[in-house]
């Protein structure tokens, strides 16, 4: 319920305050970037903690790599989301310069996929997912579109 209220508040704040399609898209990217930055800070701590433990208990490199596999996947997902946000932003830049709405929508759709991927990976590791990420997903989903597959992981 609290998450739903947070999402509704966010959506109202962003879309209810007027502004063009492109400027609202930029605001959404900004919020999503903040959510990713926060998730990255948390993930970095999780990664370092897991690596310390894996290094202590592992008998060889293969065992270490096995223990760190899901954390390495998380790190890859975070990088993919970072790239997807830059691409979405580039889509807005192109749209602002007279480009197609379709390019903007595709960028957002790909970013949504990467954020959902991160949420699932953190959920697998910790048993809970960061709600800021899901709020960002809901914001970006408002732009619709289909990901062309470039950022699927």
């Amino acid at each position: 319920m609290i998450r739903l209220m947070a999402w509704m508040f966010t959506a109202t704040a962003l879309f209810g305050c007027g502004g063009s399609f492109a400027s609202n898209a930029r605001r959404s990217i900004s919020v999503a970037s903040e959510a990713l930055a926060q998730t990255d800070r948390t993930s970095a701590r999780l990664y370092s903690e897991a690596a310390r433990e894996a290094l202590q208990v592992s008998h060889d490199r293969a065992e270490y790599d096995r223990r760190m596999a899901e954390y390495n996947e998380l790190e890859i997902s975070l990088r993919a989301a970072h790239i997807a946000l830059l691409a979405a932003q580039a889509g807005v830049d192109v749209y602002d310069s007279g480009g197609r709405k379709l390019d903007l929508q595709s960028g957002f759709a790909c970013a949504v996929l990467t954020f959902e991927d991160i949420f699932e990976r953190i959920h697998d590791i910790t048993g809970g997912g960061p709600s800021a990420l899901m709020n960002a997903v809901q914001l970006m989903k408002a732009y619709g579109g289909e990901c062309d597959g470039r950022y699927e992981h």
Binding site: A13, E34, Q38, Y47, E75, P130
Partner: protein, 61 residues
Amino acid sequence: MDVTSIEKAYTLIGDLAVLIKAIISAVADKDPDRVEKILPDELRTSIARHAAEAKASEKFG
């Protein structure tokens, strides 16, 4: 600090803080920050991975 306590701390403080900060910033700014201003070139998790893998290589070769 174990994973559970980190997650709890993140859920209770981090989520709320980032959401409020982001909303205030996004609504107040006519020109919201660009991705490259908010996120570093290399993510902290990637830096943590590089450091961890260096230590693993040192130990296991």
